[in-house]
């Protein structure tokens, strides 16, 4: 088993929480993990990514080689496209449809959706709408993790436990909300 995933988004959108949940679930499942993050200047509203690699064999490189990535999991549609050079021919793009237009020349959403569709296997989810329906706009990152979970080969239980651990300090309500977001994202992916 090997999954090479690029997590993408804009600084502050919560991709490191997604990484932390997958990472914990993977390690608890006895898998090897390497996960490279971007800290520092780019976190100020710039493009950020994380290379997340899980495998049942030891992992050498902290970075995923170009053309070898199994999944781009993005919380922003334009950011999903930025890492296409890394995507394997049969890889998946799982992204939210919600633009984060903090630049003056942000492209039209239809063009972005067209390009994502052209990329091959894809799941596009309106994560913000789902999160709002659940009553917490902040959990849209967990909706996206849920949407990707079908491709991850990690058991839902492990993901739930890891989510519980990550948000434990913030109280039971927050944990429950995030687990609901995972489930809602998973269902949305099935029907998308």
């Amino acid at each position: 088993m090997k999954k090479d995933i690029i997590l993408a988004g804009v600084g502050g959108q919560g991709i490191l929480s997604i990484a932390a949940v997958i990472g914990m679930a993977a390690v608890e499942s006895g898998l090897y993990l390497k996960q490279a993050e971007v800290h520092g200047m780019s976190q100020r509203g710039g493009a950020v990514q994380s290379h997340l690699r899980i495998s049942d064999k030891p992992i050498a490189s902290d970075l995923i080689p170009e053309g070898k990535c199994d999944m781009i999991l993005s919380v922003e549609p334009m950011e999903a496209l930025r890492y296409l050079p890394f995507l394997a021919p049969d890889g998946w793009v799982v992204t939210s449809s919600n633009p984060f237009p903090n630049i003056p020349d942000y492209p039209g959403q239809e063009r972005l959706v067209r390009e994502i569709q052209k990329a091959g296997n894809h799941i596009i989810v309106d994560a913000q709408a789902i999160a709002r329906e659940l009553g917490s706009p902040r959990v849209s990152n967990m909706v996206m993790l849920g949407a990707a979970s079908g491709q991850l080969e990690l058991s839902p239980d492990r993901l739930h436990v890891a989510t519980g651990l990550l948000f434990a300090k913030k109280g039971e309500d927050v944990v429950r909300m995030n687990i609901s977001a995972l489930e809602a994202g998973k269902n949305a992916a099935v029907t998308s």
């Binding site: 993990l33 993050e37 971007v38 520092g40 050498a60 080689p65 296409l84 050079p85 630049i103 063009r111």
Partner: protein
């Protein structure tokens, strides 16, 4: 023993704690910040009373670390690569004095300049100071090498550099802990003159330092960290330093290569292991994350009988960090062109946060400067450096910590009027204060704007030494009280703020304008914490 999932930085922090650390000293700097933050948050550190408060800059950190070592305890000093320039005087002379308690200096380099103004390779400094350098390739080695570094430091009475790069600093993996080593007790050096570098004594210390070099090579040969991994295919041998080893293993695994590999972790590398390895293969490929430090020393300046490939002959790019694709190309593998990034994707550079106080400061400054020709604003290192980008286009320099004040003074000396410096509060107490004293002593016409958001913002909001002290500091340095102006950078005060700046631009002497409003990031975290 329990496994932890840690960043390379965090593994170093945990490794140091478990190796009997008594104090960490640092100034925040990407990608090194998380080492000290990890120790600050650690229960283990709190229970033991391990020192972990931030220092004013890397030089004061290095000196405090040396002081703790003098007192017999194990100290660690952490910084980014350019921080070592600031600490260099103390670092190089710590090689001269030697240490008492173990002293590990962690330097995190940033090849490809993800969050830095250059990509210098700190191994040069290690060589320059003639002290051992350790270069881990993964998180477990980060953890283990801190402990070995302390042992090595005490064995040879020398500071030891632990050099990492961005990818390792900010990459997470599982780490296995070792049993906790007790802290050293308070124990002064047996020779109380060891740390006195008076010329007569320094000459003796330097001879001692030179004499130990052979022993450092022998230790690096015998410690077994630099190791040859045998391979049948001797048409090429791979010398892989630090993190570069991972990229080679990634590529070799996929391609089924069976070349001999010399993995380098410890410097100075023994001549013997290099000669034996290079002698046994037709040609060598040197993989280094950073500058071609080892490659240059292997190559020398004379025609070499050996064929050496690496960054100097174009087999690998001369600059930037390595990655699997570059190593594939260097191994003559066919690299399939990947998918293209669609044209619709725009660059998304970092930007000042919505509501940031620097924005209102720049808006007022830009308007106050409207009557003057452009090109008179010297700035510094921090979030406010983003004022270089549109829509502000507000600054004309960013060189090193503190350079805004002194460059503005030099330009003013040359006749530029007005000459403006824009510096953050934490950068000001890091390296701006001494330059301000230069200006005060000469009454140089400069306008220094301290954009005070009461934090070290760019690195994630660490405590700033300047908080609530700026007026007192500037007064103490000798700025005339009438020309220390405090303003609140908010849109509703825009006209008033522009007037304050205009008045001080016209003043033929030293003015300091403190534009004080809390960072929106730390403010929102503080409010959340209260709820």
């Amino acid at each position: 023993m329990s496994k932890l999932v840690l960043l390379g930085d965090e593994a170093i922090g945990q490794g140091a704690l478990d190796a009997g650390l008594s104090g960490v000293y640092a100034y925040p700097g990407t990608p090194s910040t998380e080492i000290t933050e990890y120790i600050q948050k650690s229960k283990q550190a709190r229970e033991r009373g391990v020192h972990s408060d931030w220092s004013a800059n890397e030089k004061t950190a290095m000196e405090a670390g040396l002081g703790m070592s003098y007192a017999g305890k194990r100290a660690m000093v952490c910084m980014k690569h350019v921080g070592l320039n600031v600490a260099a005087d103390a670092f190089v002379n710590a090689g001269m004095t030697g240490v008492n308690g173990g002293l590990v200096v962690v330097v995190a380099d940033d090849p490809s300049m993800h969050s830095s103004q250059n990509e210098q390779d700190s191994r040069f400094y290690g060589k320059f100071a003639r002290v051992p350098v350790l270069e881990p390739s993964n998180q477990q080695e980060c953890y283990d090498l801190v402990r070995y570094g302390f042992d090595l430091s005490e064995m040879f009475s020398l500071p030891v550099m632990l050099r990492i790069t961005t990818r390792l600093a900010h990459s997470r993996s599982a780490v296995e802990k070792s049993p906790e080593h007790p802290e050293n007790g308070l124990r002064l050096p047996s020779d109380l003159k060891q740390f006195i570098l008076l010329p007569s004594m320094a000459r003796k210390r330097y001879k001692t330092l030179l004499a130990v070099q052979d022993k450092l090579e022998t230790e690096s040969q015998e410690a077994g960290l630099n190791r040859v991994e045998k391979g049948e295919d001797s048409s090429r041998g791979i010398i892989a330093c630090g993190l570069a080893y991972n990229y080679y293993r990634e590529v070799a695994g996929g391609a089924g290569f069976n070349h001999p590999v010399l993995k380098i972790v410890q410097y100075p590398v023994a001549a013997r292991i290099l000669n034996e390895f290079v002698g046994g293969v037709d040609e060598v490929l040197v993989l280094e994350e950073g500058a071609p430090v080892l490659e240059e020393s292997l190559r020398g300046v004379l025609d070499n009988i050996h064929s050496i490939r690496g960054r100097l002959d174009g087999t690998l790019p001369r600059d930037g960090e390595l990655n699997p694709r570059l190593v594939q190309t260097a191994m003559n593998l066919k690299v399939e062109p990947g998918r293209k990034i669609p044209d619709v994707v725009r660059t998304r550079p970092p930007a000042l946060c919505k509501g940031c106080s620097h924005i209102d400061m720049y808006n007022a400054l830009n308007e106050a400067l409207e009557g003057y020709a452009p090109g008179r604003v010297f700035s510094d290192i921090g979030c406010y450096t983003l004022g270089a980008l549109p829509p502000y286009n507000a600054i004309n320099s960013c060189v090193d910590m503190g350079a805004s004040v002194t460059m503005a003074k030099g330009a003013s000396d040359a006749g530029l009027r007005p000459s403006v410096a824009v510096i953050g509060d934490s950068t000001f107490t890091h390296s701006g204060m001494t330059g301000l004293l230069d200006a005060v002593v000469e009454k140089s016409p400069v306008t220094v704007i301290i954009s005070d958001n009461s934090t070290t913002g760019m690195t994630g909001g660490q405590k700033s030494h300047a908080t609530n002290r700026l007026v007192a500091i500037c007064t103490g340095i000798g700025v005339e009280p009438a020309h220390i102006r405090v303003m609140n950078p908010l849109r509703k005060h825009h006209d008033e703020n522009r007037e304050i700046i205009s008045e001080e631009l016209a003043y033929e002497g030293v003015s300091v304008i403190i534009a004080q409003r809390e960072c929106v990031q730390t403010a929102s975290r503080r409010l959340k914490g209260k709820r």
